[in-house]
Amino acid sequence: MNSNRRDLPKNDLPLLILATLEDGPRHGYGIARAIEAVSESALRLREGSLYPALRILEQDGYILGEWEVQPSGPARKVYTLTESGRGELRKRRQEWEQYARFIGTILRGGQNPNEQPT
């Protein structure tokens, strides 16, 4: 267990859901476990916050949720990333990377990481 566990900010959840679904369709529980696994348990997700975020992404047309009947056990809802969702993921990813680069530059005292020290 990672000792530096942080609560995942609610606003970042849609981006992480889209990124998780890029690898293929998943159900809600699978998305929660994937986020936990990829973050090596460093991010603590309140799992109940996942479903409202999924509803909103579904309403916006970024993901598609379909009930899947299993041979054994109850039906489960599986989510797939749509074409519009892929575009949104690309956009949000670029924004996030740009934001992280700016913050990184400020924390390094204004030194661009691409510049070679003289």
């Binding site: 809600g28 109940g48 916050s49 479903y51 409202p52 509803r55 909103i56």
Partner: protein
């Protein structure tokens, strides 16, 4: 006695009683599927079923919090606006309906009780005062969001709401009084009221009712504004 999981789903069902049953059942089925999968995993890892259910529920979060977010998502599909704009729009629509009802009641009041009706604080009748205070609060609510919760934004919103309500009221009165028939009725009512005695108790109770109504509306809006300010401050801190 129900298991912790069933109790949790029951409370989620209760909290979501104001959304359509089909939509609610689908959400609950999905939450059930999520929790069951987590319980199975924890049981396989060696936990007792009861402890596993409690742990899965702990990870999922409070039912009230989950239900609130789910209900907000349902409202969002109904009215694709953010929560605060939706609240302001609903309050404004309620205000329009109340103002319409009060305006509807104003004419019989004027006909029957002109002197008492006009004898209200600050030189204006109580209905106009209620309307102006109401629109101050609606404007303040809208301004709170527009200026990201600063006191100045709230006050400017309130002032703008009051000015717009006042100007609309004056325009409405001017249009109303430009009708010669209405003007004649008004003059007749004034003359009659000057000569006839009126039932003071009835007038007093109508005034009390309007003041109680206004106090209630102002209290609700004040509480809503305070809650909004507090939540904004919490978010900033």
């Amino acid at each position: 006695m129900n298991s912790p999981l069933e109790q949790y789903l029951d409370s989620l069902h209760r909290y979501l009683r104001f959304v359509p049953s089909g939509w609610r059942d689908e959400q609950i089925a999905e939450v059930r599927q999520h929790l069951s999968a987590h319980v199975d995993e924890l049981t396989l890892a060696g936990m007792t079923p009861h402890a596993a259910e409690e742990e899965a529920i702990r990870c999922f979060g409070r039912a009230s919090q989950t239900a609130r977010s789910l209900a907000a998502a349902w409202w969002r599909q109904l009215l694709p606006l953010d929560v605060h704009t939706r609240q302001t729009a609903l309050i404004a629509a309620g205000g329009l309906a109340c103002t319409g009802l009060m305006q509807g009641a104003a004419m019989p009041l004027l006909n029957l009780y002109v002197p008492q009706y006009l004898r209200a604080p600050f030189g204006m009748d109580s209905l106009s005062l209620v309307t102006l205070v109401y629109w101050f609060c609606v404007g303040a609510l809208a301004g709170t969001r527009g200026k990201r919760g600063t006191l100045r934004g709230t006050l400017w919103g309130g002032v703008a709401g009051t000015v717009v309500a006042h100007l609309t009221g004056r325009l409405q009165a001017a249009l109303w009084m430009s009708d010669p028939q209405v003007r004649q009725q008004m003059d007749a009512a004034m003359t009659r009221a000057a000569h006839e005695s009126v039932t003071v108790i009835q007038v007093a109770s109508l005034h009390q009712l309007s003041w109680i109504l206004s106090a209630f509306v102002i209290l609700c809006l004040g509480a809503s504004l305070t809650a909004r300010q507090l939540s904004l401050r919490r978010a900033v801190n």
